[in-house]
């Protein structure tokens, strides 16, 4: 389990990245925290000719609030997100999600942008990005563009990133007053990929939820926004019957894909259980 030989370049500017992409094409890969790519290379599932190390790029660093948007540099490591008061205030969902990611050593190295660009459907970050209606800031040699999370995740490890693109930052609308963020996942061991996970936002008042977004992960080829379930909770104070309707409505939102530990039926059941628990938590302001 040793990677095949590769070249390595630590770049100082985005222009250098674009130049290297122009030279190497899809033989070049960006390395951020390396928590997915390095094991993949060791297993020889990935064998890039060139690794572009973006850890020194200023443009990809930092967490800042610009008016009603929180801007998080793509190279921000999980550990930085976890300890940022700005993130805790402006994106409580993200703040709560970080401790669920793998283990401390991985959180010390892994990056926010790396997880989004990798688009593992069982990961927490893509689901949070979708729940928070994040916008990806993408740069290439031609310029910069913005892609909404809903359009960014396109399938199993598939995103809107094109060859030559660099994910530079993520913009997240700052949580308005009363906006809650809750994440729960069902794991057999702490730090594992969830059997089923649910990242949710919503505003609770008087037993009602306004504008809830329920994003499930670990159920398909990408994070899934459960709109039918949200609709079932739209009218009036939420009763146990409403929750049961929302749980039943999940069948219209998605049919889970199974994995080696869980059949689709198990995942569908667990998704219903999680929805019930997360709605209760949102209503309890927890």
């Amino acid at each position: 389990m040793k990677a095949s030989a590769f070249d390595y370049a630590r770049v100082e500017s985005l222009e250098e990245v674009f130049a290297l992409f122009a030279e190497y094409g899809d033989e070049a890969r960006i390395i951020a925290g390396g928590q997915t790519l390095v094991p993949a290379m060791a297993m020889r599932v990935a064998a890039p000719a060139l690794l572009i190390d973006i850890s020194r790029l200023e443009a990809l660093q930092g967490i800042a609030r610009n008016g009603d948007r929180l801007r998080i540099g793509a190279f921000t490591r999980y550990v930085e997100l976890q300890h940022s008061p700005l993130v805790a205030e402006a994106a409580p969902l993200l703040h709560r999600a970080i401790p669920l990611i793998a283990h401390e050593a991985i959180r010390s190295r892994g990056t926010f942008g790396g997880s989004l660009a990798n688009a593992d459907p069982a990961s927490e970050m893509p689901a949070c990005a979708l729940a928070l209606e994040a916008v990806m800031v993408i740069a290439n040699a031609e310029g910069e563009r913005r892609v909404a999370a809903a359009d960014f995740f396109q399938g199993l490890y598939q995103t809107a990133l094109e060859p030559g693109d660099v994910l530079v930052a993520v913009e997240i609308p700052v949580a308005q007053d009363g906006m809650q963020g809750v994440i729960e996942e069902l794991v057999r061991r702490q730090g594992d990929y969830a059997m089923v996970g649910l990242a949710a936002t919503g505003k609770a008042a008087n037993g009602m939820l306004s504008g809830p977004r329920f994003v499930f992960f670990g159920v398909g080829d990408r994070p899934v926004l459960a709109t039918k379930a949200a609709e079932a909770l739209a009218d009036g104070p939420i009763s146990p019957e409403h929750i049961a309707e929302a749980q039943a409505a999940l069948a219209q939102d998605f049919t889970p894909l199974g994995d080696i530990h869980c059949s689709p039926a198990t995942k569908a059941h667990l998704a219903r259980v999680l929805l019930g628990r997360v709605v209760s938590r949102l209503l309890e302001h927890r």
């Binding site: 040793k2 057999r188 702490q190 594992d192 990929y193 080696i260 198990t266």
Partner: protein, 795 residues
């Protein structure tokens, strides 16, 4: 003579029973361990393997030309190349009549019989280059039908893996005692269940690794090897490569865990030695984690149909079991893959007075990774089946699970006792263990709490498992069957000129503290301070011949060799001191490293002075007196073919009926390993063993698809028990020393693993009892629990 003048009292028990820490623990924690992979030899090559992608396939052609052309590649060899210098092996032994297996080669020759079997070996300047070259080897395969399901392995329509063997039955055994048919016919209560155990593996922190270093001039082979059994491997290497035994040296440096899996013969190890012999250069192999999952021995792949006859009063009258176990395509060499099943069906019902028994064992071939001995061989199977049935009977009769055990265990006045399967128990302590665990876990209030919480919709379960444990195996284990696996051990002990003591012993250290225990015994029986004893293990060139460490024999057997050597050296030291001091040796004693007057304790001289005179001024001694300050002693296990320990475990857990997730709350163990030599190390053995058993109960399982492909060969997908999921493990002891040795120690390595999974199973079923469902398939995954609860459709 600095020691002169003060009085030293005799020590009562010396260091026996003292919680002395391991001197090597600090070194290992500081990262200064020296494992095989830390060693770099001049001109050393690294080997990587091309492996079979199929569970069963014929090799039509192998094209190695492109691989040979990769710069940095020293050799590319196939099964046929290696077969020319290495004799194949067959994993059978005479004391398992009818056991059959096919000749096995280091690399597959005509066919591969499991996914991951090595086919081509490539030695290169680096492992990465060797892996580059592996990608360039072209093997033309003809895929053959694979035998995957052990339940149909013997069906007439199932292909036979080794045609020359006639069928896929490797070994069969039927045991009968008393009149089980009568018991089942006459009793009112019969409980019946089919128990399934997940195939799993050992997962040592340090993977299998070795460096083979062949020197062609004198035809010497030195193997630095992460092994439990240096002498067994010396014998294997010498015989299979046609080398003189004394020219083969096996050295085990620091070894990072073994659990039984580092004493089997593996193709990779043999191929690595073969490459070194062919090239005359050192060659290193370190298994990566995927290779470990595909080629380290697996274990516990059993399905057992079992029933138990119980009287209306809860007396266990009989058991009837049929155990089918799949062992992969070969019986593993040299200890065979019949041992696990053999122990499983002989240990059934072991703690109980049950008079009637019928057991059938079918050991079948299949196209999966070979299985063999892993910690607590066969015990978790027997314990799971027996304890599962006992709880079913208790539930049927509305008896408390502790009460039914109390009514059935072999009681104090019955010893010595022979089980219906022929196991001989010198003296066990089931009743005391049950009483102790009941108090320790505060059983009655735990039950009250459980009832209270159930009303709130919280489902907790309490489960017990009584167990017996086989330890201290003698020649009956392997030697009588023709295996060159030694059952005796040896110790060489010498006084250094400094007055310190060096002890070389044939039992080995894999992180469990063997060397510490040996030092405690040496210091105690010599009469010296613990820190003046250095222990050396794991080198066939520097230690006496012996069986080494497996089956919980290190303390009981290895300890006795040290005890005998210490007593002998002590006699020599006192004799010499008597001559120097011109007194009878019987008037002297050795205490804390000082020669004292036996009656007064008055110090006369220390051992450094004794060493100085013996080694540098022997001219001051009488003519013709030759101080023998090096002694050697061996020890052969006496009295019993193997020893038994016993104990009981309890699990307390909470089950979420909505998600099927189980949270372990507490685990208790009371066990009886005889004399406790070092309570720290004994408790570590118990806790570590329990964790492996908890892994079996909730997490660990080698998953295969219909084509015989292992689909979870990584630490992300094969779930090991991790610290965050582990409960507090409370350990206490009863001590019934064996009377067959002055040491009294019986061994403790298997105890935790033997019973932990069964205790969890019973606790899971206790938690599920209000739903009128139960489970008998390990591990207890959320999906299996949800299916039992009817939350999701059964598959």
């Amino acid at each position: 003579m600095s020691a002169e003048g003060k009085a030293i009292r005799p020590a009562a028990t010396g260091y026996i029973g003292q919680p002395v820490p391991r001197p090597n623990a600090r070194r290992l924690l500081e990262g200064r361990g020296r494992y095989t992979d830390d060693m770099v030899l001049n001109r050393m090559l690294h080997v990587a393997f091309v492996r079979s992608p199929y569970a069963h396939a014929r090799i039509l052609a192998i094209d190695t030309e492109a691989a040979r052309a990769v710069p940095g590649v020293a050799a590319v060899v196939t099964g046929r190349d290696i077969a020319e210098i290495c004799q194949p092996w067959v994993g059978v032994l005479g004391h398992f009549p009818g056991l059959k297996s096919a000749p096995q080669y280091p690399l597959a020759v005509e066919r591969s019989c499991w996914q991951g079997e090595p086919v081509v070996a490539i030695a290169a300047e680096t492992r990465a280059i060797a892996e580059d070259a592996c990608e360039k080897v072209l093997v033309e395969w003809e895929e053959l039908p694979a035998v995957v399901d052990m339940q149909t392995a013997l069906a007439p329509e199932t292909p036979v893996i080794h045609e020359e063997l006639g069928d896929n039955l490797a070994f069969g055994l039927e045991l009968k005692a008393g009149s089980p048919e009568d018991a089942f016919a006459k009793t009112a209560v019969v409980v019946e269940e089919t128990f399934s155990f997940g195939r799993h593996t050992g997962v040592t922190l340090e993977p299998r690794s070795l460096i083979a270093d062949f020197e062609p001039g004198e035809r010497r082979l030195t193997v630095h090897h992460a092994t439990q059994t240096p002498y067994q491997m010396q014998d294997v290497y010498a015989r299979h490569f046609g080398l003189d035994e004394e020219k083969v040296r096996v050295v085990a440096p620091d070894v990072g865990g073994s659990f039984g899996l580092k004493l089997h013969v593996y193709g990779e190890e043999m191929a690595t030695c073969a490459l070194s012999i062919l090239l005359g250069r050192p060659v290193k192999f370190v298994a990566d984690r995927l290779e470990s999952f595909l080629t380290d021995i697996h274990a516990r792949d059993h399905q057992v149909r079992a029933r138990m006859a119980v009287s209306a009063e809860g007396e266990i009258l009989a058991m009837d079991v049929e155990d089918v176990t799949g062992i992969g395509p070969y019986s593993v060499y040299p200890r065979t893959s019949a041992v696990e099943g053999n122990q499983a069906i002989r240990l059934m019902g072991g703690p109980y007075r049950m008079p009637n028994y019928h057991g059938v064992l079918k050991v079948v071939f299949q196209n999966k990774t070979p299985t063999c001995q892993y910690r607590a061989v066969g015990h978790p199977i027997a314990c799971g089946v027996t304890e599962g049935l006992v709880d079913m009977a208790a539930r049927r009769l509305n008896l408390d699970p502790l009460e039914i055990r109390r009514r059935n265990v072999v009681t104090a006045e019955m010893y010595p006792h022979t089980s219906p399967t022929g196991y001989f128990f010198e003296r066990l302590s089931h009743e005391e263990c049950i009483a102790k665990i009941e108090a320790m876990m505060n059983y009655s209030s735990l039950r009250e709490e459980q009832a209270r919480l159930r009303e709130q919709g919280i489902y907790r379960g309490i489960g017990f498992a009584t167990f017996i444990e086989i330890t201290n195996p003698g020649p009956a284990f392997y030697g009588v069957g023709g295996a060159r696996v030694s059952s005796q051990d040896g110790c060489v002990m010498k006084l250094e000129p400094s007055g310190r003591v060096r002890c070389s012993v044939s039992v080995t250290e894999q992180g469990q503290g063997t060397e510490t225990v040996m030092a405690q015994i040496a210091a105690t029986h010599l009469g010296v301070k613990l820190d003046s004893v250095t222990v050396l293990t794991g080198d066939t060139q520097a230690t006496p011949y012996g069986g080494a460490t497996w089956a919980s024999r290190g303390a009981g057997i290895g300890g006795m060799t040290v005890l005998r050597a210490a007593q002998a050296l002590r006699g020599k030291l006192l004799e010499l001191a008597g001559i120097i001091l011109q007194r009878g040796p019987e008037t002297l004693d050795l205490r804390e490293g000082v020669i004292v007057e036996a009656d007064t304790g008055m110090a006369r001289m220390d051992l450094a002075e004794l060493g100085r005179i013996a080694y540098f001024r022997p001219d001051t001694l009488p003519p013709d007196f030759h101080p023998d300050l090096t002694v050697a002693r061996h020890y052969v296990p006496q009295g019993l073919p193997f020893a038994f320990t016993n104990g009981i475990q309890a699990s307390h857990l909470e089950l979420d009926p909505e998600t099927g997730l189980v949270r372990l709350l507490d685990h208790w163990v009371v066990e009886d390993c005889g004399t406790i030599l070092n309570p720290l190390l004994v408790d570590e053995q118990v806790r570590g063993g329990v964790v492996q058993g908890l892994g079996a109960a909730l997490f660990e399982e080698c998953l295969y698809n219909e084509a015989g492909q292992m689909i979870n060969g990584s630490l992300a997908d094969y779930l090991l028990p991790m610290a965050s999921e582990m409960p507090d493990i409370h350990v206490d002891h009863v001590s019934t020393p064996t009377q067959f040795t002055p040491l009294g120690a019986k061994g403790v390595g298997e105890a935790g693993t033997a019973g932990a999974a069964a205790a969890v199973m019973n606790a899971v079923n206790d938690a599920l009892a209000p739903f009128q469902v139960s489970l008998a398939q390990m591990p207890f995954t959320p999906e299996r629990i949800l299916r039992a609860l009817g939350k999701i459709p059964s598959s």
